[in-house]
Amino acid sequence: MDAFTTHTGTALPLRRSNVDTDQIIPAVYLKRVTKTGFEDGLFAAWRKDPDFVLNQPQYAGATIIVPGPDFGTGSSREHAVWALQNYGFRVVIGARFGDIFRSNAGKAGLLVARIDQKIVDELWDYVEEHPQAPITVDLEARTIVADGFETDFEIDDYTRWRLLEGLDDIGLTLRQVDAVEAYEGRRPAFKPATLPERTAPVG
C-alpha cells in the first residue's frame, strides 16, 4: 500500500444520505476476480441520469467525494472502495459511515475523514460555489483546507498511523506469530474444525 500524507484535489458534493454499497457498485459489477476495472460500476444506476452530480462537467476530475451521512452501509463488498479508487477518488469526507466500508477503506488506502454533518453542509455549499477550488486534506495535521474553508477531521489513530506509513496489515500481524501460536496452544479441544470433513447422512 502506498503511504498517504496529504492530498490536494477538487471535490464532488454528493447530497444523499444512506448511500449503501449496493448503490456505490451494484452486484452485477462484482464479477471480476481482480481489484481493478470497477470504475464502470461506480454509482452505475444513478450515472444514467445526465443530471447526476458525477456527470456534471464542473466536477470533472474530482478526487475527493463528500457524501451525506451513513455512506457505505450495507454489503461488505470491498469492491465499493475499489470502484471509488479506480474512478480516481482518494478521499471520502462525511459525517457517518458504514463500519465495514470504513475498515475496508483503511485497508485499501482510501482516506475516510469524518466531520460533523453541519460542516459537511458548509463544505457542500462551498464546493457548489467553487467547484474547481483545490482542497488539501492533510492526514498528518488532520485538516481539510481550501481558500475560504478550513476544518479539522476525525480518524482513529491506528488507521492514521498505518496510512501514513503505508503499512501492510498482514505483514504487521505476521510479526506476532509467536503470540498466535501461543494462543492456538491454549484453544479448547472442543472447538470445531472443518477438516476432516464430516457430513450427515441423506434424509
Partner: protein, 477 residues
C-alpha cells in the same frame, strides 16, 4: 463490574492487546464464498503465503449459482469464472469446499449452523455482511471486506477495535402471526439504519428466548441492516439441542466440556451496556417496508407515509426519493400494493422452518394469476428436508416455482432477477434500489406475509386469508 456476553467472548479471543492499538483477535471459523474471495487468494499467491488454518476455513458457492438446471455448466460466463476461481483456489490452498450439486452446498450462513460448525462462544467471520446470522448461537460473528479475508486466510486473526455494547430488550409474548422478521423490521424502523453503528448488540428478553433457533438467526441476520457490528444472543437449552448430533458438534467428553463453557456465556447480572433499547413484543404486528432501506417500514395495516412527517431533512429527502423509486403515493394503504413477484428464501428466511410456515399458509390456496412465486431453499439440505416433508408439492400445487438452493433473487447475481419496474414481496434482508434486479422494487416481509401476498396478489397477512389457524407459534417453537 460484571461483563456482557459479547465482552466475555471477545476477551476469550484476544491474542494480543496493546495500548493504542486494536486487539488482535483469533478467528475460530472463516467462511468463504466466490464473490469476495478471489482477490484475497490472489494476494496470498502473490506474497507466497499459505492459508494458515485450512481446518478452520470452509468455502461454498452461493451468490452466483443458478437455481435451475444446476447439473449443467453455469451459463453466464462471468459467474462461471468466479465459481471456477473459487474451486481452483480451494484446491490449491487445501480449503474444504461445497460446490453446486453437493449435499452440503448452500448459502454460507445456512450451512455453518447446519453442519454444526457454528457454536456458542466463537468468533466467526466471512466476506459477507450477514455473517451476523451466526450470532444467534452466542458467537461474535461479523462481515469483513476482502482485504480482511486475506488477512484471516494468512494469519487466522484480525486486528479489531473493541466495539461498544448495546442491549436490545424484547419482552412480552408476540401476538399470533407475528414473527422474528417482524421484530427486526420494527426494530430497524424504530432505531434507523445507522442506529447500531459501532456496537455489538445483544438481543435478549422473553420474546427472544421464546424464539426457535431459526427465528433467532433471522433477527441476528439483520443486525447489519441497522449498522451493528454484530448481533448475538445468549445460548440456552434450545441452542444446545439444535447442535447436538450435528456433524461437527462436539461429542463425548468434548460435548460436556463445551456445554459447561457455553453455559457461562451470558451477560452478568451487574454487567452494564453502553446503550439499551426496549421493544414491547406484545405491541408488534406484521411489518413490511415501503422504501429503499430496511428502516423504511411500517405495520402492514398502515399506509405509505408522507415524507413530510419525518423530522430530519435528510430523512425527508430520502423518503421522497424512495417513494419516487418505489412508484408509491403517500397515503396508499400498504395492503393495496400489488406485487408481481414473491421471493421466499435467502439467509434471512430460507431455513426449513420458514418454508414450513409459508407452506402452511399457502396449502389449499393458489398463487394469484398476476404473481410469480419463487421458493428458493437456503441450502441443498433444506431443499431435501422440505421435499421429504412434501412441502415442494404444496408449493408446486399452489403454482409456485420450486428451485435449487442459493442466494438467488436476494441479490440477483444469478438469473433470478426482477425486471425494471417489477415489484416484489421478498423475505430477504435488503430493499435497496436495484438489489433484486435493475429498476426492481422490493418490499421486505416475513415468510407468512410472503405466502399470503402470493395468494392475494397484494401485500397481505395470513389473517387476510382467513387461515389464522395455520400461524400460531410459527416462529416460537
Amino acid at each position: 463490574m460484571g461483563r456482557t456476553l459479547s465482552e466475555k467472548v471477545w476477551d476469550d479471543h484476544v491474542v494480543r492487546s496493546s495500548e493504542g492499538e486494536p486487539d488482535l483477535l483469533y478467528i475460530d471459523l472463516h467462511l468463504v464464498h466466490e464473490v469476495t474471495s478471489p482477490q484475497a487468494f490472489d494476494g496470498l499467491r502473490q506474497a507466497g503465503r499459505p492459508v494458515r488454518r485450512p481446518d478452520l476455513t470452509l468455502a461454498t458457492e452461493d451468490h452466483n449459482t443458478p437455481t435451475l438446471n444446476i447439473d449443467q455448466p453455469i451459463a453466464d460466463p462471468v459467474s462461471r469464472t468466479q465459481v471456477d476461481t473459487l474451486r481452483r483456489n480451494a484446491a490449491e490452498f487445501g480449503v474444504r469446499i461445497h460446490s453446486l450439486g453437493d449435499l452440503d452446498q448452500g448459502i454460507v450462513h445456512i450451512i455453518g449452523p447446519q453442519l454444526g460448525l457454528t457454536q456458542p462462544g466463537m468468533t466467526i467471520v466471512c466476506g459477507d455482511s450477514h455473517t451476523s446470522t451466526h450470532g444467534a448461537f452466542g458467537s461474535i460473528a461479523f462481515g469483513i471486506g476482502t482485504s480482511e479475508v486475506e488477512h484471516v486466510l494468512a494469519t487466522q486473526t484480525l486486528p479489531q477495535s473493541k466495539p461498544k455494547t448495546m442491549a436490545v430488550n424484547v419482552d412480552g409474548e408476540l401476538p399470533p402471526g407475528v414473527t422474528a422478521k417482524d421484530i427486526v423490521l420494527a426494530l430497524i424502523a424504530k432505531v434507523g439504519t445507522g442506529g447500531g453503528q459501532g456496537y455489538v448488540v445483544e438481543y435478549r428478553g422473553s420474546a427472544i428466548e421464546a424464539l426457535s433457533m431459526e427465528g433467532r438467526m433471522t433477527i441476528c441476520n439483520m443486525s447489519i441492516e441497522w449498522g451493528a457490528k454484530a448481533g448475538l444472543m445468549a445460548p440456552d437449552e434450545k441452542t444446545f439441542a439444535y447442535l447436538q448430533g450435528r456433524p461437527h458438534a462436539p461429542t463425548g467428553a468434548d460435548w460436556d466440556a463445551a456445554v459447561a463453557y457455553w453455559s457461562t456465556l451470558k451477560s452478568d447480572q451487574d454487567a452494564v451496556f453502553d446503550v439499551e433499547v426496549d421493544l414491547d413484543a406484545t405491541q408488534l404486528t406484521p411489518f413490511v417496508t415501503w422504501g429503499t432501506n430496511p428502516g423504511q417500514g411500517v405495520p402492514l395495516g398502515a399506509s405509505v407515509p408522507d415524507p413530510e412527517v419525518f423530522a430530519e431533512p435528510s430523512d425527508r429527502t430520502a423518503a421522497t426519493k424512495a417513494l419516487e423509486y418505489m412508484a408509491l403515493t403517500a397515503g396508499t394503504p400498504m395492503r393495496e400494493i400489488a406485487v408481481d413477484t414473491v421471493f421466499l428464501g435467502s439467509c434471512t428466511n430460507g431455513r426449513i422452518e420458514d418454508l414450513r410456515a409459508a407452506a402452511a399458509v399457502i396449502q389449499g390456496h393458489h398463487v394469484a394469476d398476476s404473481v410469480r412465486m419463487l421458493v428458493v431453499p437456503g441450502s441443498a439440505r433444506v431443499r431435501l428436508q422440505a421435499e421429504s416433508e412434501g412441502l415442494d408439492v404444496v408449493f408446486k400445487e399452489a403454482g409456485a416455482e420450486w428451485r435449487a438452493a442459493g442466494c438467488s433473487m436476494c441479490l440477483g447475481m444469478n438469473p433470478d432477477q426482477l425486471a425494471p419496474g417489477e415489484r416484489s414481496a421478498s423475505t430477504s434482508n435488503r430493499n435497496f434500489e436495484g438489489r433484486q434486479g435493475k429498476g426492481g422494487r422490493t418490499h421486505l416481509v416475513s415468510p407468512l406475509v410472503a405466502a399470503a401476498t402470493a395468494v392475494r396478489g397484494t401485500l397481505s397477512s395470513p389473517a387476510d386469508l382467513d387461515r389464522s389457524d395455520a400461524l400460531v407459534g410459527a416462529d416460537q417453537r
